[in-house]
Amino acid sequence: MEYLLNITIYLPLLGVVAFLFIRGDEAVKWVSLAVTTITFFLSLPLLFNFDVANSAIPQYVTEGTPIFLGMDIKYLVGLDGLSMLLFMLTTLFGPIVILASWSSIKKSLIGYYSMLLILQTASLGVFASLDLVVFYVFFELGLIPMYFLIGIWGGSDKIRATIKFFIYTLVGSLLMLIALIYLGYNAGAATGVYDFTSDWRFISGPDYTIGLVEQTWLFLAFALAFCIKVPLFPFHTWLPYAHTEAPTAGSVVLAAIMLKLGTYGLVRVCLPVFPNAFMEFAPLMAVLAVIGIIYGALVAMVQKDVKKLVAYSSVSHLGFVVLGIFAFNTMAVQGAIIQMINHGLSTGALFLIVGMIYDRRHTRMISDFGGIAKKMPVFAVMFMIATLASIGLPGLNGFIGEFLILNGAFISELYANHAYAVISAIGVILAAAYMLWMYQRVMFGPITKKENESLIDLNGREIALLVPLVIFMVWIGIRPVDFTKYSEEWVNSFITMSEEKSVAVIENTDPGEIPNWTARLYGIESGEQNNLLAQQD
């Protein structure tokens, strides 16, 4: 099984090697499709053999040797409850994005499909890596193909969009790199064996705690990098550009997978490693998340471009995920994890749909459409399901995630205020408003433009790539436990452990040793923190 995991990660890269010997556009397409489809089927046994009861422990672990004595940086991959579903989401989207590009990409196909395949390996690598340096390498590796995808095959303002995307993400992750190095040396000293360690299992484990001052700075550096990637308000400005200018497949991968790297990182690193800072900054992050939810929804409402509308709706939806993560209870974090999957499915589907209509009409302006439902009934149904899933209609997947998050935020001890959940709930209403309004303007009413008269409905390929997404939207909506079970044990055990760790850090802190701002921040003298934790237990 360990081999299977590695094969799954690197098989797409092997496809790129194959392009050295394969010429001809058709062959390139078929090889890409074959490689990603095989990757998906190879990843299925990983899901079926996953030990759900022990999801807190990484499984299928491959462990290399440290790169040199004293420095415990090593190749370390495995899957646990947190990464399992996101890993599967990534393999599922592999063949879908290839199929989505089938007829719309006409320029330098080898380059295009190489980029998609490299991106696939990078995304799978991020979710599977358990060594923070390896994590960082895969995290950055994803930037290069995305840069070219937007820059070469993008829309009219592609150069500005792609450079903004690249630099924005890079600034955050470079600061994270410094924090990562500091953390590595700090953790290495704690092992007593190594000078440096970036083994996530040790760093997030119960034996390693970090002092309050370091925790604050490290948390801020890591959180900044992840929040830019999410993107959380006010770091979101790169997202609408990148989404709008990217080719369909680029938007889909960006929305479904790459944005998840941010929220995934928050849960993977920030929650278990910096528990005190995590709890202390939770209300601040929640405020940003709530602003993002409302702001994203309001801006989405006034968009004239369908793709931009979906892009801003991402800002809103990912606000929910962040809100859930920082609520710091099992229900909300579970909701956040399932919402990551939901957002991938529904927003991915929406971008695919926008791409399909764009291929036919070469416009994305809402005003250019109207009355399409009559001409394209199958399209209308698919679009409707994706729209409703995105809104969070009960019975579809979006509802499950949003319900758990709002419920968890409502009872969250850290927020200690119902306002967060209440205001966020307004975001759900706004979502219904902007999505349904857009749907109505695009699909219903009289046909005003004569170009729309001759639209043809979806072909077999297009239906085939939407159907799996629709199936999962319904499945998660009806039987969410089939999916939430994977992360349940993980969330429970890490929340409990983080709480214990945070108490231990406070107990071990000598109030005389730390600077005033830290004492004030963590309420050491007044003992508020301890009381709060006592209530939670």
Binding site: I67, F68, L69, S108, G111, Y136, V137, E140, L141, L143, I144, Y147, F148, G151, I152, K158, I159, T162, I163, F166, I167, L170, V171, L174, L175, L177, I178, I181, Y182, G184, Y185, D195, F196
Partner: protein
């Protein structure tokens, strides 16, 4: 027996020097330039093999303490030889296209390399000075190869005048150090050093000379013009081999002559210079429209990152610098190589970024390789440039220089913009007019492919040189 040992220690340098003499003689008797080229490549390859073997040998000193044997010096020799060998391999096509393919180019190049090999092992201020001059004088000649072009003449003259000026500083520094301590051997100087004004002034002037050679701000003024006016493949040679040799000499001075921080803590000086160098180098590079000039400023910025490792002042820092130099040699020779390829297809203006529009799709392998080298220079994983930066910054963080490391990574983030900009033109812009590029020569293409493969390989698998490096440094580090 001692003589044998001494000679063996400097064998790569001797081989290169003898080859240089042979090439010059051949040129005098009008034998074909291809023979000279063959001899040059052969001599460098043999010297490199011997140099690599010496990596695993014993450490010590040779020639009665004038040079170091093994350890950092041995690695320095390998760096210089790798850089030189690849520059020579890519030079032939380029120089013959530009009508500069003469035997004396290789003669000068080999003599310069001899100087660099001496510089990388110098354990005495006299050796340091003589090696540096041997190297510099030959480089002045190489900088002026395009003597009929304005920028070529400007490069040579500027390099010579400013270089002579800086040598004055260096020599004056050596004189003052000798006056203060009565010694010229690095370790003897360290033993006899006292914090007198005379000694500090001497050491300071010596460092000024070194800063000039590595193009640290504010001693960088010559770099862009010289780099632009020199034939491109020889620019690569100056930017990699010469820089590696000088940095290794810098490390030797810091570890052997100025190890005692009680006399004076030079790391503060290096820190300040590193910060200015990174910021100024990157900011000016942002505004460049000529790719060659852009790479010149970026090489200034890279000197800044390298000095971050020196500022850490630990074995990890020095080995990080050495690894970075290795990475820098691979990717910089590669980048200059591809630029030389584009340039020789047309004319001099072809180094303007605007003329790169749409080039990436013309000869795909060249475009892809330039992208790899530029991403590596930008420090994006999983390429060797990232690993180099990682080691250097990690050493700085470990030594407690977190603000320095943060400035470093932010400067490096800014640098990404101008590397990306080249790729924007390569791939994202449409070509202005239709033209076809000539196919690259086999040897030229093969050497660049080797460099690209190594750039990726040592990024993914940073094990081999690093393990060796740490052992080298720790086994060798005095005190």
């Amino acid at each position: 027996m001692d003589y044998l040992h001494d000679l063996q220690s400097f064998l790569p340098g001797i081989i290169v020097a003898v080859a240089g003499l042979v090439v010059i003689m051949l040129d005098a008797f009008k034998k074909g330039v291809h023979l000279s080229y063959g001899i040059t490549v052969g001599a460098l390859a043999i010297a490199l093999i011997i140099g690599i073997q010496a990596l695993f040998g014993d450490t010590g000193t040779a020639f009665t303490g004038m040079i170091v044997h093994g350890g950092i010096g041995a690695f320095g020799k390998v760096l210089v030889l790798v850089g030189t060998l690849f520059c020579v391999l890519i030079s032939k096509d380029y120089l013959s296209e530009k009508d500069l393919h003469n035997g004396e180019v290789y003669g000068m190049l080999l003599f310069a390399t001899t100087g660099m090999l001496g510089l990388a092992v110098s354990n005495d201020l006299i050796t340091l000075f003589i090696s540096l001059e041997t190297m510099s004088i030959c480089l002045y000649v190489l900088a002026g190869l395009m003597k009929n072009e304005k920028i070529g003449a400007e490069a040579a003259l500027k390099y010579f005048l400013l270089g002579a000026f800086s040598t004055g500083f260096l020599l004056y520094g050596i004189a003052l150090i000798y006056g203060a301590t009565g010694q010229t051997n690095l370790t003897d100087v360290a033993a006899a050093a006292e914090p007198t004004l005379l000694f500090l002034a001497g050491a300071g002037l010596l460092l000024v000379g070194i800063f000039f050679k590595i193009a640290a701000v504010p001693f960088h003024m010559w770099t862009p013009d010289v780099y632009q006016g020199t034939p491109t493949t020889l620019t690569a040679y100056m930017a990699t081999a010469a820089k590696s040799a000088t940095f290794v000499a810098f490390i030797l001075i810091l570890t052997r002559m100025l190890p005692n921080s009680e006399i004076a803590d030079w790391t503060n000086v290096i820190q300040v210079i590193a910060i200015i160098t990174m910021i100024v180098g990157n900011l000016i590079a942002l505004a460049q429209d000529n790719v060659k000039r852009m790479l010149a400023y970026s090489s200034i910025a890279h000197a800044g990152y390298l000095m971050v490792g020196l500022a850490a002042g630990t074995a990890a820092g020095y080995s990080g610098v050495l690894y970075y130099l290795f990475a820098y040699t691979l990717m910089n020779v590669g980048a200059f190589g591809v630029i030389a390829y584009y340039e020789r297809n047309h004319n001099l203006d072809f180094t303007e970024i605007d003329s790169y529009a749409g080039l990436g799709f013309k000869v795909p392998v060249m475009g892809v390789m330039l992208s790899i080298f530029l991403f590596s220079l930008a420090g994006i994983p999983p390429l060797v440039g990232f690993v180099g930066k990682y080691y250097v910054f990690a050493a700085a963080v470990h030594a407690g220089l977190i603000p320095l490391a943060i400035i470093g990574v932010l400067a490096s983030a800014a640098s990404v913009y101008y590397y990306l900009r080249v790729m924007v033109f390569l791939y994202f812009k449409e070509a202005h007019k239709e033209y076809t590029l000539k196919a690259p020569g086999f040897l030229f293409k093969a050497s660049l492919i080797v460099l690209a493969v190594l750039t990726v390989y040592y990024g993914v698998e940073p094990v081999l040189p690093t393990t060796g490096l740490i052992e080298l440094i720790t086994s060798y580090y005095p005190g």
